[in-house]
Protein backbone atom coordinates (compact mmCIF):
# COMPACT_ATOMS: atom_id res chain seq x y z
CA UNK A 1 0.00 0.00 0.00
CA UNK A 2 1.33 3.44 -0.87
CA UNK A 3 1.59 6.31 1.57
CA UNK A 4 -1.73 7.83 0.52
CA UNK A 5 -3.52 4.49 0.97
CA UNK A 6 -2.16 4.15 4.48
CA UNK A 7 -3.28 7.67 5.35
CA UNK A 8 -6.78 7.02 4.00
CA UNK A 9 -7.04 3.74 5.89
CA UNK A 10 -6.04 5.47 9.10
CA UNK A 11 -8.63 8.19 8.56
CA UNK A 12 -11.41 5.72 7.72
CA UNK A 13 -10.51 3.60 10.72
CA UNK A 14 -10.77 6.66 12.97
CA UNK A 15 -14.11 7.64 11.41
CA UNK A 16 -15.34 4.10 12.07
CA UNK A 17 -14.20 4.28 15.69
CA UNK A 18 -15.83 7.70 15.98
CA UNK A 19 -19.14 6.32 14.76
CA UNK A 20 -19.01 3.49 17.30
CA UNK A 21 -18.30 5.82 20.20
CA UNK A 22 -20.73 8.41 18.81
CA UNK A 23 -23.55 5.87 18.83
CA UNK A 24 -23.05 5.39 22.56
CA UNK A 25 -22.69 9.11 23.23
CA UNK A 26 -25.89 9.77 21.33
CA UNK A 27 -27.91 7.16 23.23
CA UNK A 28 -26.76 8.51 26.57
CA UNK A 29 -27.24 12.14 25.55
CA UNK A 30 -30.73 11.38 24.21
CA UNK A 31 -31.89 10.28 27.65
CA UNK A 32 -30.26 13.28 29.28
CA UNK A 33 -31.85 15.72 26.85
CA UNK A 34 -35.30 14.09 27.15
CA UNK A 35 -35.21 14.41 30.93
CA UNK A 36 -33.96 17.97 30.70
CA UNK A 37 -36.67 18.87 28.20
CA UNK A 38 -39.54 17.42 30.19
CA UNK A 39 -38.43 18.00 33.77
CA UNK A 40 -35.94 20.84 33.36
CA UNK A 41 -33.51 18.94 35.53
CA UNK A 42 -29.87 18.51 34.53
CA UNK A 43 -29.66 14.93 35.77
CA UNK A 44 -26.11 14.46 36.97
CA UNK A 45 -26.95 10.88 37.94
CA UNK A 46 -27.64 9.88 34.32
CA UNK A 47 -24.12 8.53 33.75
CA UNK A 48 -24.39 6.52 36.93
CA UNK A 49 -27.65 4.95 35.78
CA UNK A 50 -25.62 3.94 32.73
CA UNK A 51 -22.99 2.46 35.03
CA UNK A 52 -25.63 0.59 37.04
CA UNK A 53 -27.05 -0.85 33.81
CA UNK A 54 -23.63 -2.25 32.92
CA UNK A 55 -23.20 -3.84 36.37
CA UNK A 56 -26.68 -5.39 36.28
CA UNK A 57 -25.86 -6.97 32.92
CA UNK A 58 -22.49 -8.11 34.27
CA UNK A 59 -24.24 -9.74 37.21
CA UNK A 60 -26.77 -11.44 34.95
CA UNK A 61 -24.02 -12.69 32.61
CA UNK A 62 -21.54 -13.95 35.18
CA UNK A 63 -23.56 -14.88 38.29
CA UNK A 64 -26.96 -15.74 36.84
CA UNK A 65 -25.44 -17.24 33.64
CA UNK A 66 -27.73 -15.42 31.25
CA UNK A 67 -26.61 -15.20 27.66
CA UNK A 68 -25.89 -11.79 26.15
CA UNK A 69 -29.28 -10.73 24.80
CA UNK A 70 -31.37 -11.77 27.81
CA UNK A 71 -28.82 -10.01 30.02
CA UNK A 72 -29.10 -6.87 27.93
CA UNK A 73 -32.89 -6.98 28.11
CA UNK A 74 -32.78 -7.71 31.83
CA UNK A 75 -30.50 -4.74 32.50
CA UNK A 76 -32.78 -2.44 30.50
CA UNK A 77 -35.87 -3.63 32.39
CA UNK A 78 -34.15 -3.24 35.77
CA UNK A 79 -33.01 0.28 34.87
CA UNK A 80 -36.48 1.26 33.68
CA UNK A 81 -37.77 0.26 37.12
CA UNK A 82 -34.87 2.07 38.84
CA UNK A 83 -35.66 5.15 36.73
CA UNK A 84 -39.31 5.06 37.81
CA UNK A 85 -38.28 4.74 41.46
CA UNK A 86 -35.72 7.57 41.27
CA UNK A 87 -38.28 9.88 39.65
CA UNK A 88 -40.98 9.07 42.21
CA UNK A 89 -38.78 9.02 45.31
CA UNK A 90 -36.28 11.77 44.52
CA UNK A 91 -37.45 14.19 41.83
CA UNK A 92 -41.25 14.15 42.11
CA UNK A 93 -41.23 15.34 45.74
CA UNK A 94 -39.01 18.26 44.63
CA UNK A 95 -41.08 19.39 41.65
CA UNK A 96 -42.32 22.51 43.41
CA UNK A 97 -38.97 23.36 44.98
CA UNK A 98 -36.40 25.59 43.26
CA UNK A 99 -34.62 23.89 40.38
CA UNK A 100 -31.29 23.89 42.20
CA UNK A 101 -32.73 21.45 44.76
CA UNK A 102 -33.38 18.86 42.08
CA UNK A 103 -29.90 19.47 40.69
CA UNK A 104 -28.31 18.81 44.05
CA UNK A 105 -30.54 15.78 44.54
CA UNK A 106 -29.28 14.37 41.24
CA UNK A 107 -25.70 14.75 42.48
CA UNK A 108 -26.83 12.87 45.59
CA UNK A 109 -28.25 10.03 43.50
CA UNK A 110 -24.98 9.94 41.57
CA UNK A 111 -22.86 9.57 44.70
CA UNK A 112 -25.26 7.00 46.11
CA UNK A 113 -25.17 4.83 43.00
CA UNK A 114 -21.38 4.95 42.79
CA UNK A 115 -21.03 3.95 46.44
CA UNK A 116 -23.62 1.21 45.94
CA UNK A 117 -21.75 -0.26 42.97
CA UNK A 118 -18.49 -0.11 44.86
CA UNK A 119 -20.04 -1.84 47.88
CA UNK A 120 -21.53 -4.65 45.80
CA UNK A 121 -18.95 -5.20 43.07
CA UNK A 122 -15.81 -3.61 44.52
CA UNK A 123 -13.58 -0.86 43.11
CA UNK A 124 -11.70 -3.01 40.57
CA UNK A 125 -11.95 -2.96 36.82
CA UNK A 126 -14.05 -5.83 35.50
CA UNK A 127 -14.33 -7.28 32.03
CA UNK A 128 -17.80 -7.92 30.65
CA UNK A 129 -17.92 -11.09 28.52
CA UNK A 130 -19.47 -11.02 25.07
CA UNK A 131 -20.03 -13.64 22.41
CA UNK A 132 -19.27 -11.01 19.78
CA UNK A 133 -15.51 -10.61 20.18
CA UNK A 134 -14.46 -11.64 16.66
CA UNK A 135 -12.75 -9.12 14.46
CA UNK A 136 -14.12 -8.54 11.00
CA UNK A 137 -12.04 -7.13 8.18
CA UNK A 138 -13.57 -4.82 5.64
CA UNK A 139 -10.80 -4.10 3.17
CA UNK A 140 -7.98 -2.77 5.28
CA UNK A 141 -10.30 -1.72 8.09
CA UNK A 142 -10.94 -3.87 11.11
CA UNK A 143 -13.97 -3.80 13.33
CA UNK A 144 -15.17 -6.15 16.05
CA UNK A 145 -18.62 -7.70 15.89
CA UNK A 146 -19.40 -5.91 19.13
CA UNK A 147 -18.55 -2.53 17.58
CA UNK A 148 -20.83 -3.28 14.67
CA UNK A 149 -23.54 -4.33 17.10
CA UNK A 150 -23.19 -1.03 18.97
CA UNK A 151 -23.79 1.00 15.82
CA UNK A 152 -26.68 -1.08 14.49
CA UNK A 153 -28.48 -1.36 17.82
CA UNK A 154 -28.05 2.34 18.56
CA UNK A 155 -29.44 3.37 15.20
CA UNK A 156 -32.39 0.96 15.50
CA UNK A 157 -33.13 2.37 18.95
CA UNK A 158 -32.98 5.97 17.72
CA UNK A 159 -35.37 5.15 14.88
CA UNK A 160 -37.78 3.44 17.28
CA UNK A 161 -37.62 6.34 19.72
CA UNK A 162 -38.27 8.78 16.92
CA UNK A 163 -41.29 6.77 15.72
CA UNK A 164 -42.62 6.66 19.28
CA UNK A 165 -42.25 10.42 19.73
CA UNK A 166 -43.59 11.39 16.31
CA UNK A 167 -46.31 8.81 15.69
CA UNK A 168 -48.00 8.17 19.03
CA UNK A 169 -50.13 10.43 21.21
CA UNK A 170 -48.04 9.58 24.29
CA UNK A 171 -44.91 10.54 22.37
CA UNK A 172 -46.53 13.80 21.30
CA UNK A 173 -47.47 14.37 24.94
CA UNK A 174 -43.79 14.07 25.94
CA UNK A 175 -42.83 16.68 23.36
CA UNK A 176 -45.76 18.86 24.39
CA UNK A 177 -44.70 18.88 28.05
CA UNK A 178 -41.16 19.78 26.97
CA UNK A 179 -42.38 22.67 24.82
CA UNK A 180 -44.99 24.12 27.15
CA UNK A 181 -45.67 22.57 30.52
CA UNK A 182 -48.77 24.62 31.37
CA UNK A 183 -50.12 24.27 27.84
CA UNK A 184 -49.77 20.51 28.24
CA UNK A 185 -51.67 20.54 31.53
CA UNK A 186 -54.45 22.56 29.90
CA UNK A 187 -55.07 19.89 27.25
CA UNK A 188 -55.24 17.22 29.94
CA UNK A 189 -51.74 15.74 29.83
CA UNK A 190 -50.77 14.56 33.34
CA UNK A 191 -47.25 15.99 33.45
CA UNK A 192 -46.29 13.92 36.50
CA UNK A 193 -46.93 10.65 34.69
CA UNK A 194 -45.14 11.94 31.60
CA UNK A 195 -42.12 12.79 33.76
CA UNK A 196 -42.09 9.23 35.14
CA UNK A 197 -42.30 7.75 31.67
CA UNK A 198 -39.55 10.02 30.35
CA UNK A 199 -37.25 9.16 33.21
CA UNK A 200 -37.89 5.46 32.68
CA UNK A 201 -37.14 5.71 28.96
CA UNK A 202 -33.96 7.71 29.61
CA UNK A 203 -32.74 5.15 32.15
CA UNK A 204 -33.51 2.27 29.82
CA UNK A 205 -31.57 3.95 27.00
CA UNK A 206 -28.62 4.51 29.31
CA UNK A 207 -28.63 0.84 30.31
CA UNK A 208 -28.82 -0.24 26.68
CA UNK A 209 -25.86 1.98 25.76
CA UNK A 210 -23.84 0.68 28.67
CA UNK A 211 -24.44 -3.00 27.97
CA UNK A 212 -23.60 -2.48 24.30
CA UNK A 213 -20.30 -0.71 24.87
CA UNK A 214 -18.93 -2.15 28.10
CA UNK A 215 -17.57 -5.33 26.48
CA UNK A 216 -15.31 -3.00 24.48
CA UNK A 217 -14.31 -0.90 27.47
CA UNK A 218 -14.07 -1.91 31.12
CA UNK A 219 -16.47 -1.89 34.02
CA UNK A 220 -15.77 0.20 37.13
CA UNK A 221 -17.86 2.19 39.61
CA UNK A 222 -16.78 5.64 38.35
CA UNK A 223 -17.33 4.79 34.66
CA UNK A 224 -20.38 7.07 34.59
CA UNK A 225 -18.42 10.22 35.41
CA UNK A 226 -16.65 10.71 32.09
CA UNK A 227 -19.78 9.65 30.20
CA UNK A 228 -21.97 12.24 31.91
CA UNK A 229 -19.40 14.96 31.25
CA UNK A 230 -19.43 14.11 27.56
CA UNK A 231 -23.23 13.84 27.50
CA UNK A 232 -23.55 17.32 28.97
CA UNK A 233 -21.12 18.70 26.40
CA UNK A 234 -23.23 17.04 23.71
CA UNK A 235 -26.60 18.36 24.82
CA UNK A 236 -25.20 21.85 25.37
CA UNK A 237 -23.65 21.94 21.92
CA UNK A 238 -26.72 20.29 20.38
CA UNK A 239 -29.14 22.62 22.16
CA UNK A 240 -30.55 21.75 25.60
CA UNK A 241 -33.66 19.59 25.20
CA UNK A 242 -33.16 19.00 21.48
CA UNK A 243 -33.36 15.40 20.26
CA UNK A 244 -31.69 15.89 16.85
CA UNK A 245 -29.12 18.00 18.69
CA UNK A 246 -28.29 15.11 21.01
CA UNK A 247 -27.91 12.63 18.17
CA UNK A 248 -25.87 14.87 15.90
CA UNK A 249 -23.89 16.26 18.85
CA UNK A 250 -22.94 12.74 19.93
CA UNK A 251 -21.48 11.86 16.56
CA UNK A 252 -19.76 15.24 16.10
CA UNK A 253 -18.07 14.95 19.47
CA UNK A 254 -16.97 11.35 18.99
CA UNK A 255 -15.63 11.99 15.49
CA UNK A 256 -13.74 15.06 16.66
CA UNK A 257 -12.25 13.03 19.47
CA UNK A 258 -11.19 10.07 17.38
CA UNK A 259 -9.88 12.03 14.40
CA UNK A 260 -8.30 14.69 16.59
CA UNK A 261 -6.85 11.99 18.81
CA UNK A 262 -5.25 10.24 15.84
CA UNK A 263 -3.74 13.33 14.23
CA UNK A 264 -2.87 15.42 17.25
CA UNK A 265 -2.48 13.18 20.26
CA UNK A 266 -4.71 10.78 22.16
CA UNK A 267 -3.59 12.59 25.32
CA UNK A 268 -5.65 15.55 24.19
CA UNK A 269 -8.78 13.56 23.36
CA UNK A 270 -10.84 14.90 26.24
CA UNK A 271 -9.52 18.39 25.68
CA UNK A 272 -10.73 18.19 22.08
CA UNK A 273 -14.28 17.55 23.31
CA UNK A 274 -14.31 20.80 25.19
CA UNK A 275 -12.55 22.69 22.40
CA UNK A 276 -15.36 21.58 20.07
CA UNK A 277 -17.90 22.80 22.61
CA UNK A 278 -16.27 26.22 22.88
CA UNK A 279 -15.98 26.50 19.12
CA UNK A 280 -19.62 25.62 18.41
CA UNK A 281 -20.97 27.78 21.21
CA UNK A 282 -18.99 30.77 20.02
CA UNK A 283 -20.77 30.47 16.66
CA UNK A 284 -24.18 29.34 17.96
CA UNK A 285 -24.47 30.31 21.62
CA UNK A 286 -27.72 28.37 22.18
CA UNK A 287 -26.44 25.20 20.53
CA UNK A 288 -27.01 23.69 17.11
CA UNK A 289 -30.74 23.11 17.55
CA UNK A 290 -31.76 25.83 19.98
CA UNK A 291 -35.35 25.55 21.18
CA UNK A 292 -37.39 28.56 20.34
CA UNK A 293 -38.51 30.55 23.32
Amino acid sequence: MDEWGVAMTLLLQEILNGIVVGSIYSLVALGLTLVYGVMEIPNFAHGHLYMLGAYIAFFLLTSAHFSYWPALLGAVVVLVVVGLLVERLVFNPLRKAPQVNAMIASVGVMLFLEALAQAIWGPNYLQMPTPYGNVLHIGALSVTQQQLLVVVAAIVMMVLLNLFLKRTMIGAAIEAVAQHREGALLVGIPSGRIAMLTFAIASGLAALAAVLVTPINLLFPAMGTMVIMKAFVIIVLGGMGSIPGAILGGYILALAESIGGAYISTNYQDLIAFAVLVLILSIRPAGLFARRA
Binding site: G183, G188, R291
Partner: protein, 235 residues
Protein backbone atom coordinates in the same frame (compact mmCIF):
# COMPACT_ATOMS: atom_id res chain seq x y z
CA UNK B 1 -74.09 25.80 34.36
CA UNK B 2 -71.03 27.32 35.99
CA UNK B 3 -71.39 28.82 39.44
CA UNK B 4 -68.41 30.59 41.02
CA UNK B 5 -69.01 31.67 44.61
CA UNK B 6 -66.91 33.96 46.77
CA UNK B 7 -63.72 33.11 44.88
CA UNK B 8 -60.56 34.52 46.41
CA UNK B 9 -57.06 33.95 45.05
CA UNK B 10 -53.94 35.29 46.70
CA UNK B 11 -50.40 35.41 45.32
CA UNK B 12 -48.41 36.24 48.41
CA UNK B 13 -50.15 38.63 50.77
CA UNK B 14 -52.21 40.54 48.18
CA UNK B 15 -55.42 39.12 46.79
CA UNK B 16 -55.52 39.06 42.99
CA UNK B 17 -59.17 38.08 43.12
CA UNK B 18 -61.45 38.73 46.07
CA UNK B 19 -64.92 37.39 46.77
CA UNK B 20 -65.90 37.05 43.14
CA UNK B 21 -69.31 35.60 42.21
CA UNK B 22 -69.91 34.67 38.59
CA UNK B 23 -72.47 32.44 36.94
CA UNK B 24 -72.72 31.25 33.37
CA UNK B 25 -76.04 29.63 32.52
CA UNK B 26 -76.38 26.84 30.01
CA UNK B 27 -75.75 28.13 26.51
CA UNK B 28 -74.72 31.59 27.68
CA UNK B 29 -71.83 33.70 26.43
CA UNK B 30 -70.63 35.85 29.29
CA UNK B 31 -67.99 38.52 28.96
CA UNK B 32 -65.57 39.77 31.62
CA UNK B 33 -64.60 43.41 31.17
CA UNK B 34 -61.67 44.89 32.99
CA UNK B 35 -58.33 46.57 32.60
CA UNK B 36 -55.00 44.74 32.54
CA UNK B 37 -54.25 43.34 35.98
CA UNK B 38 -57.88 43.50 37.10
CA UNK B 39 -57.81 39.76 37.85
CA UNK B 40 -59.51 38.29 34.79
CA UNK B 41 -56.64 35.97 33.91
CA UNK B 42 -56.40 34.82 37.51
CA UNK B 43 -60.11 33.93 37.46
CA UNK B 44 -59.55 31.91 34.29
CA UNK B 45 -56.44 30.20 35.63
CA UNK B 46 -58.33 29.22 38.75
CA UNK B 47 -61.29 27.87 36.81
CA UNK B 48 -59.05 25.67 34.66
CA UNK B 49 -56.92 24.48 37.58
CA UNK B 50 -53.60 26.17 36.74
CA UNK B 51 -53.90 28.22 39.94
CA UNK B 52 -55.36 27.03 43.22
CA UNK B 53 -57.97 29.24 44.89
CA UNK B 54 -57.43 30.51 48.42
CA UNK B 55 -61.14 30.42 49.18
CA UNK B 56 -64.46 30.01 47.45
CA UNK B 57 -66.21 27.35 45.45
CA UNK B 58 -66.47 26.47 41.76
CA UNK B 59 -69.35 24.29 40.59
CA UNK B 60 -69.90 22.97 37.08
CA UNK B 61 -73.36 21.48 36.52
CA UNK B 62 -73.71 21.07 40.26
CA UNK B 63 -70.40 19.22 40.65
CA UNK B 64 -67.73 20.73 42.88
CA UNK B 65 -64.61 21.26 40.75
CA UNK B 66 -62.82 23.66 43.12
CA UNK B 67 -59.05 23.27 43.10
CA UNK B 68 -59.07 20.42 40.61
CA UNK B 69 -55.69 19.96 38.85
CA UNK B 70 -55.69 21.35 35.31
CA UNK B 71 -55.44 17.96 33.61
CA UNK B 72 -58.52 16.83 35.55
CA UNK B 73 -60.50 20.00 34.92
CA UNK B 74 -60.31 19.27 31.18
CA UNK B 75 -61.95 15.91 31.81
CA UNK B 76 -64.81 17.74 33.53
CA UNK B 77 -65.36 19.74 30.36
CA UNK B 78 -63.49 22.97 31.10
CA UNK B 79 -61.26 24.04 28.21
CA UNK B 80 -59.05 27.09 28.67
CA UNK B 81 -57.63 29.08 25.79
CA UNK B 82 -55.14 31.04 27.85
CA UNK B 83 -53.49 34.40 27.66
CA UNK B 84 -50.25 33.91 25.73
CA UNK B 85 -51.82 30.92 23.93
CA UNK B 86 -49.42 28.31 25.38
CA UNK B 87 -49.08 26.41 22.12
CA UNK B 88 -46.42 23.78 21.44
CA UNK B 89 -44.34 25.87 19.02
CA UNK B 90 -42.31 23.15 17.33
CA UNK B 91 -45.17 20.71 16.88
CA UNK B 92 -47.32 20.95 13.79
CA UNK B 93 -50.66 22.75 13.83
CA UNK B 94 -52.39 19.41 13.40
CA UNK B 95 -50.56 17.89 16.36
CA UNK B 96 -51.33 20.89 18.53
CA UNK B 97 -55.00 20.44 17.71
CA UNK B 98 -55.01 16.66 18.17
CA UNK B 99 -53.33 17.06 21.55
CA UNK B 100 -56.30 19.23 22.48
CA UNK B 101 -58.30 15.98 22.44
CA UNK B 102 -55.69 14.18 24.56
CA UNK B 103 -58.23 13.11 27.17
CA UNK B 104 -60.26 11.34 24.49
CA UNK B 105 -57.35 10.11 22.38
CA UNK B 106 -58.68 6.56 22.15
CA UNK B 107 -61.63 7.63 20.03
CA UNK B 108 -59.75 8.32 16.79
CA UNK B 109 -62.91 8.83 14.77
CA UNK B 110 -64.30 11.50 17.10
CA UNK B 111 -60.87 13.20 17.08
CA UNK B 112 -60.83 13.35 13.30
CA UNK B 113 -64.40 14.64 13.19
CA UNK B 114 -63.58 17.41 15.63
CA UNK B 115 -60.42 18.29 13.73
CA UNK B 116 -62.62 18.66 10.66
CA UNK B 117 -64.94 21.01 12.60
CA UNK B 118 -62.00 23.18 13.64
CA UNK B 119 -60.82 23.37 10.02
CA UNK B 120 -64.34 24.42 8.98
CA UNK B 121 -64.30 27.14 11.60
CA UNK B 122 -60.78 28.31 10.66
CA UNK B 123 -60.17 27.24 7.03
CA UNK B 124 -56.70 28.81 6.98
CA UNK B 125 -55.52 26.21 9.50
CA UNK B 126 -56.22 23.38 7.06
CA UNK B 127 -53.58 24.77 4.70
CA UNK B 128 -51.15 25.28 7.55
CA UNK B 129 -51.79 21.99 9.33
CA UNK B 130 -48.31 20.60 8.75
CA UNK B 131 -46.45 23.80 9.63
CA UNK B 132 -44.95 24.22 13.12
CA UNK B 133 -47.41 26.22 15.23
CA UNK B 134 -44.66 28.66 16.17
CA UNK B 135 -44.17 29.65 12.53
CA UNK B 136 -47.72 30.99 12.15
CA UNK B 137 -48.83 34.61 12.39
CA UNK B 138 -50.31 35.84 15.67
CA UNK B 139 -53.86 35.61 14.41
CA UNK B 140 -53.39 32.09 13.10
CA UNK B 141 -51.76 31.04 16.36
CA UNK B 142 -54.78 32.39 18.18
CA UNK B 143 -56.98 30.26 15.95
CA UNK B 144 -54.88 27.21 16.81
CA UNK B 145 -55.27 28.03 20.50
CA UNK B 146 -59.05 28.35 20.24
CA UNK B 147 -59.20 25.25 18.05
CA UNK B 148 -57.09 23.28 20.51
CA UNK B 149 -59.49 24.20 23.31
CA UNK B 150 -62.46 23.14 21.16
CA UNK B 151 -60.85 19.76 20.45
CA UNK B 152 -61.50 18.83 24.08
CA UNK B 153 -65.24 19.04 23.30
CA UNK B 154 -65.77 21.38 26.24
CA UNK B 155 -68.96 22.20 28.09
CA UNK B 156 -67.36 25.45 29.22
CA UNK B 157 -64.91 27.35 27.05
CA UNK B 158 -62.69 29.96 28.70
CA UNK B 159 -61.28 32.50 26.26
CA UNK B 160 -58.71 34.88 27.73
CA UNK B 161 -58.13 37.95 25.52
CA UNK B 162 -58.37 36.06 22.22
CA UNK B 163 -58.03 39.24 20.15
CA UNK B 164 -55.02 40.65 21.98
CA UNK B 165 -52.46 42.03 19.56
CA UNK B 166 -54.34 41.01 16.42
CA UNK B 167 -55.06 43.11 13.34
CA UNK B 168 -58.63 44.52 13.21
CA UNK B 169 -59.69 42.23 10.38
CA UNK B 170 -58.43 39.16 12.24
CA UNK B 171 -60.18 40.33 15.41
CA UNK B 172 -63.44 40.27 13.48
CA UNK B 173 -62.76 36.75 12.23
CA UNK B 174 -61.94 35.52 15.70
CA UNK B 175 -65.03 37.10 17.27
CA UNK B 176 -67.20 35.69 14.49
CA UNK B 177 -65.76 32.25 15.21
CA UNK B 178 -66.53 32.70 18.91
CA UNK B 179 -70.11 33.62 18.04
CA UNK B 180 -70.43 30.46 15.98
CA UNK B 181 -68.94 28.32 18.74
CA UNK B 182 -71.46 29.81 21.15
CA UNK B 183 -74.28 28.96 18.77
CA UNK B 184 -73.44 25.27 19.11
CA UNK B 185 -74.53 25.51 22.74
CA UNK B 186 -71.14 25.66 24.50
CA UNK B 187 -71.00 27.95 27.52
CA UNK B 188 -68.41 30.64 26.88
CA UNK B 189 -66.65 32.92 29.34
CA UNK B 190 -64.77 35.58 27.42
CA UNK B 191 -62.32 38.22 28.58
CA UNK B 192 -61.83 41.01 26.10
CA UNK B 193 -60.19 44.41 25.92
CA UNK B 194 -62.30 45.16 22.88
CA UNK B 195 -65.42 45.71 25.00
CA UNK B 196 -67.81 46.86 22.32
CA UNK B 197 -67.14 43.92 20.01
CA UNK B 198 -67.31 41.50 22.93
CA UNK B 199 -70.59 42.87 24.24
CA UNK B 200 -72.10 42.63 20.78
CA UNK B 201 -71.86 38.83 20.84
CA UNK B 202 -72.42 38.42 24.61
CA UNK B 203 -75.56 37.63 26.59
CA UNK B 204 -74.35 39.11 29.86
CA UNK B 205 -71.23 40.57 31.36
CA UNK B 206 -69.30 41.43 34.50
CA UNK B 207 -67.01 44.37 35.11
CA UNK B 208 -63.94 43.43 37.15
CA UNK B 209 -61.80 46.04 38.86
CA UNK B 210 -59.00 45.36 41.34
CA UNK B 211 -59.99 41.73 41.68
CA UNK B 212 -63.65 42.37 42.47
CA UNK B 213 -66.86 42.32 40.50
CA UNK B 214 -67.99 45.96 40.51
CA UNK B 215 -70.88 45.61 38.11
CA UNK B 216 -72.91 43.00 36.30
CA UNK B 217 -75.75 43.00 33.85
CA UNK B 218 -77.17 41.97 30.53
CA UNK B 219 -75.53 43.12 27.33
CA UNK B 220 -77.95 46.03 26.93
CA UNK B 221 -77.64 47.13 30.54
CA UNK B 222 -73.88 47.23 30.22
CA UNK B 223 -73.94 48.98 26.86
CA UNK B 224 -76.21 51.69 28.32
CA UNK B 225 -74.31 52.08 31.57
CA UNK B 226 -72.44 55.41 31.77
CA UNK B 227 -69.72 53.77 33.82
CA UNK B 228 -69.07 51.11 31.17
CA UNK B 229 -69.37 53.64 28.38
CA UNK B 230 -66.80 55.88 29.94
CA UNK B 231 -64.30 53.26 31.07
CA UNK B 232 -64.56 50.60 28.37
CA UNK B 233 -66.41 51.89 25.35
CA UNK B 234 -64.58 55.18 25.00
CA UNK B 235 -67.79 57.17 24.60
Amino acid sequence: MLRVSELTVRYGPNPAVQGVNITVDNGELVVLLGANGAGKSTIFRTLSGLTRPTAGRIELFGKDVTGLAAHRAVREGIAHCPEGRMLFPQLSVQKNLLLGAYTERRDKRAMQARLEQVFELFPVLRDKQHAPAGSLSGGQQQMVAIGRALMANPRLLLLDEPSLGLAPLVVEQVLEAIRRIHETGVMVLLAEQNARAALEIADRGYVIENGRVVMEGTRDELLRSPRVQEAYLGV
